[in-house]
């Protein structure tokens, strides 16, 4: 019996009632795609992309039903607005966006929100930032690299193309120049270049296989480590800081058995690339080596002709890898982890047989869909944020133990990134009327583009104060000290002024109005009764309300847990 394709078996899920009709339709659609390959005319919008969200939900629901796991209910609209805006626009919603959103019909609300946010310049900034945080974490403000990423994202370049541009690191003019920074920043440490490429583009950490075959993972041998390294071994930088390759040379290593070996150009799936380097005479080698030394020392030295590029071979091999699809599965897994909190494969750099994915068929299908649609990250992101799995509540008050993160049965509260937090602080401390209404943004997109660019630049000046979240992230006391005592918080965030929330709060006639204003602007929701009461009590504890009472109130909400997390 031939095995099910991943998609069809997922669709055999626990469908009941009216779902069945939808499923049948989706199944037809997917079968068509599977039979005919990508249908570019359908790729852009509507039904087919939604079908991927359905695919996600069926796979996850099926597994949870089988395991008897109860999922959390869908998040309330306010929570979903804030979450989706943080994930797609890199900031909290303005209260005018909230006014617009709450008037949308419930059935299409999320889709309309998603489609609007994805058209804003905010989306490009935030996707750029997310890719930057992934690929160049040690250099958070590399202008050239960030400029390249922004251009690539704005032009909607396929991920496979970006991968090619970043690894090829060819000399370029204009914004594309920055693509070389991924390689350039690592070229002095061959091990870093090798392992970071494997980790960040293929979801595989092979560093343990450097000194010995991987102790825990049967898949990774020393041959794989040095095989990957062989693709980078010839890479060097010239005096002019161009990324170049030597025309010959290979990697030798000693096995744990003490045998010296030449490393083959071996990709992670075991595919070996034929080394098409022509043979050079000793004379030619000597002259080429002299030329390379000159390139490393002198600005105007002539490049050495190279007839075979191992780095180019790696790029071609990775993109041609139809079987394992490391390139596609990795970015799917990392995008899912970014938006949902945990990857199907977790940790995300452990994509191997010893650490199976929580939903292997789904991951495979999403990878295949990405490849079939020209590595379109926007399509992937849109599908994920339209799924019910994405939209679940993150609060868990049940007596029963919270389901494990890889069941995706309950959403995870994720710490904001430094840029998300910075941009959000700037929005939350301005008065509601400081931001344009949704129809104004639509009418004058250029003006919003300018506003949003300013916001992005201002956020740059704050982000250094916060730490990029890592796995099992713990917020340091430094951040609490900064918020509690730093001049910038007191004099800038809490400043009074015509465009400031402090000013509007002071002008509020009653504590109830102040509470409503505060919570709708800062937390994107109405205050709970108990919270309004806290404000009433806060103001009542002194005979005369001072500016400092208003500032303290705003500070207390800004520094609170709800604001610090995407939940």
């Amino acid at each position: 019996m031939p095995p099910d394709t991943p998609t069809t078996s997922l669709l055999r899920g626990a469908a009941t009632g009216s779902d069945r009709l939808v499923l049948a339709l989706v199944r037809c659609c997917l079968l068509l795609v599977l039979l005919l390959g990508p249908l570019p005319c359908l790729a852009a919008q509507t039904t087919e992309t939604d079908s991927i969200a359905v695919l996600i939900d069926n796979a996850i629901d099926q597994q949870n039903v089988a395991a008897g796991i109860t999922t959390a209910p869908q998040a309330d609209p306010d929570t979903l607005l804030r979450r989706t805006t943080l994930d797609l626009a890199g900031r909290i919603p303005t209260s005018r966006e909230r006014d617009w959103y709450l008037l949308l019909p419930a059935e299409t609300r999320q889709q309309q929100l998603v489609d609007r946010l994805m058209q804003l310049p905010d989306f490009d900034f935030h996707l750029r930032n997310s890719l930057d945080e992934l690929l160049l974490p040690e250099r958070p403000n590399d202008g050239e690299f960030r400029e390249y990423l922004l251009t690539a994202v704005r032009e909607r370049r396929p991920w496979s193309r970006m991968f090619r541009e970043m690894l090829l690191a060819a000399p370029a003019d204009g914004p594309d120049k920055g693509a070389a920074q991924f390689v350039r920043s690592r070229v002095r440490e061959l091990d870093d270049l090798t392992n970071d490429t494997a980790v960040l583009f293929f979801g595989v950490n092979i560093s343990c296989a450097k000194c010995h075959d991987h102790p825990l993972v049967a898949d990774w041998k020393q041959d794989h480590y040095y095989g990957m390294q062989a693709f980078f071994h010839r890479t060097f930088t010239s005096k002019k800081n161009l990324i170049l390759e030597k025309p010959f040379g290979g990697v030798k290593f000693r096995t744990t058995a003490g045998v010296d070996r030449d490393a083959a150009l071996m990709f992670l799936n075991g595919a070996v690339v034929t080394d098409a380097t022509p043979s050079y005479t000793d004379e030619e080698k000597k002259s080429a080596e002299e030329q390379i030394r000159r390139l490393e020392r002198e600005d105007d030295a002539q490049p050495v002709p190279v007839s075979f590029s191992p780095r180019q071979a790696l790029i071609d091999t990775a993109i041609a890898d139809q079987q394992q699809q490391y390139l596609a599965r990795n970015i799917v897994n990392r995008t899912w982890a970014r938006l949902v909190g945990t990857g199907f494969v977790d940790p995300p750099d452990q994509m191997h047989s010893g650490n199976p994915a929580s939903h292997p068929e789904l991951l495979q299908s999403l990878g295949a869909d990405l490849v079939a649609h020209d590595y379109d990250l926007r399509r992937l992101i849109r599908s994920i944020v339209l799924s019910r799995a994405y939209a679940r509540s993150s609060s868990w008050t049940s007596e029963t133990a919270q389901p494990a993160s890889q069941t995706f049965a309950v959403a995870v509260a994720r710490p904001l990134t430094p840029r998300q937090l910075s941009a959000s602080l700037l929005i939350a401390t301005r008065s509601a009327g400081n931001w344009p209404a949704v129809d104004e943004v639509a009418a004058k997109p250029d003006e919003w583009q300018k506003r949003r660019t300013d916001l992005e630049n201002q956020a740059n000046g704050w982000m250094r104060e916060f730490e990029q979240p890592s796995r099992d992230f713990q917020i340091a006391v430094d951040e609490a000290l900064f918020f509690s005592n730093n001049d910038r918080v007191q004099n800038d965030l809490l400043r009074d002024g015509g465009d400031r929330l402090v000013n509007s709060l002071k002008a509020a006639e009653t504590p109830q109005q102040a509470a409503r204003l505060l919570w709708t602007v800062v937390c994107s929701r109405e205050p709970a009764e108990a919270e309004t009461q806290v404000v009433v009590d806060w103001f009542a504890r002194v005979p005369q309300r001072q500016d400092s009472d208003v500032q303290a109130l705003l500070w207390a909400v800004l520094a609170g847990a709800e604001f610090r997390f995407n939940h």
Binding site: N195, K210, L481, S484
Partner: protein, 438 residues
């Protein structure tokens, strides 16, 4: 995974009460005040209440005297008078029969019973940056894996999660060889409080526009409003935010620990007016208040020229300050709880160059360990007659790292799980030097 430690482990708030009107400020303020009071008890050297293991965690300390640039073993712990490489200084007997040190350390010689010397370090790397990486972390970083340094590991293992004092302080005033220290994969929670220009920790002073009462009320209001969220969102990352804010008052109160004006004049006179002396006194104050790890850097030992003049000056400072520090700790009953280390990124060449200097040398050099967990009056290992090679008891950076951890009661073979990679506290294969341990 049993037996493995997951990092970092931290509890969320568990005691979430409902909103009680008007009562909230009073209730929380007592909590804040209580933390302050506990902190001040510690500052005054009084024993706080016994709170099971948590308190024990706050009771062991390490002071690392970092000899930046690389001190000469021949002018300190491994003198070779009378040979070609020996230099002009003599060796003197110590108060432990059979052990001699350089005549540049006369006071420490009289405290040799407190100290173990390791004369057989071979750490191989003789450039400042990578040498310091290796010695501070006990190994070099692997691709994709940044290791925590000694201070971060000690802070994690000996610090209290809810500590009101910092758990890793690094004082590094001079610019030469200045390094911030790194908590690597342990994350920012264990990064050092790094003080370079100013001996007051950043953001610990009350803002001029706020009174202490306003500051505390505001914090209590934050705690109260935050609870609604944390009650519904468990997990250590969410919990860590409130934990961080709970440490604010303590950190502000502990800022006074850095102010040696608060010490009696005679104590300050004893340590002396040098910067190193003052920072050793700060280190003692911090340890007394419960800080697990303090690093005091003294620069710049990198004597490529005029090695002997350099050491004449720097050894006098080290000899005096460390002797006073050992005495002071001992008199306060703290030496049995505190390990004092002298260490740099490497030693110096036995060969004397044309500028009468000694160059970088990592093949056969020395360090010292005193106090907690250490068998005093012991020398481990030996170098050849001229000091070129280790002839007995060779020890690597990993071995030294393991030795230090064992001395303070941390099992160096315990493993952190970094992602799915088990990572022992000291490098694979490291062996503690048993002869210097109690």
């Amino acid at each position: 995974m049993s037996g493995k430690r997951l990092i970092p482990v931290q509890c969320g708030l568990s005691d979430v009460a409902g909103v009680s009107r008007r009562g909230f400020l009073g209730g929380t303020a007592v909590g804040v005040g209580g933390a302050l009071a506990a902190d001040m008890r510690a500052v005054n050297g009084l024993r706080a209440e016994e709170i099971a293991g948590e308190l024990r965690r706050g009771e062991k300390h390490v002071i690392l005297l970092w000899l930046a640039g690389g001190a000469s073993q021949l002018e300190t712990w491994d003198p070779k008078p009378g040979v070609k490489t020996g230099g002009p200084f003599a060796a003197i007997p110590t108060n432990v029969a059979g052990i001699q040190v350089s005549e540049l350390l006369p006071k420490l010689a009289q405290r040799m019973h407190l100290t173990a010397v390791i004369r057989s370090l071979n750490t191989k790397i003789a450039d400042h940056g990578r040498g310091a990486d290796l010695v501070e972390r006990g190994r070099l970083d692997d691709p994709g894996l940044r290791y925590p340094d000694l201070g971060a590991v000690v802070a994690k293992e000996l610090g209290r999660l809810e500590s009101t004092v910092p758990d890793y302080v690094s004082l590094y005033t001079s610019t030469e060889g200045r390094r911030k220290g790194t908590s690597g994969f342990l994350g920012a929670r264990y990064a050092p409080l790094f003080l370079a220009e100013n001996m007051a920790p950043p953001n610990t002073g009350l803002h001029e526009r706020l009174t202490a009462a306003e500051h505390q009320d505001r914090a209590a209001l934050r705690d109260l409003l935050s609870k609604r969220f944390t009650a519904e969102h468990r997990g250590s990352t969410v919990g860590s935010l409130n934990s961080a804010y709970q440490r604010v008052q303590g950190m502000m109160a502990s800022a006074g620990l850095f102010n040696i004006e608060q010490e009696p004049a005679e104590v300050r006179a004893r340590y002396g007016p040098t910067q190193f002396g003052e920072q050793c006194l700060i280190a003692r104050r911090l340890v007394e208040a419960g800080v697990p790890f303090v690093k005091v850097a003294r620069a710049w030992w990198d004597s490529h020229g005029q090695n002997f003049e350099t050491h004449l000056e720097l050894c006098a400072d080290l000899d005096h300050c460390m002797s006073v520090l050992l005495d002071d700790l001992q008199e306060r009953g703290l030496l049995e709880k505190t390990l004092v280390i002298t260490l740099g990124e490497f030693g110096r060449t036995p060969g004397i160059n044309a500028s009468l200097g000694r160059d970088h040398f990592a093949s056969a050099w020395s360090c010292s360990l005193s106090g907690l967990g250490i068998r005093g009056g012991v020398v481990h290992g030996a170098t050849d007659a001229e000091g070129h090679t280790v002839v007995d008891g060779e020890a690597s950076a990993g071995d030294l790292f393991a030795t230090i951890l064992q001395a303070v009661g941390i099992d160096h073979t315990h493993e952190y799980m970094v992602g799915s990679r088990p990572t022992p506290l000291a490098d694979f294969g490291s062996k503690p030097i048993r002869s210097v341990l109690v």
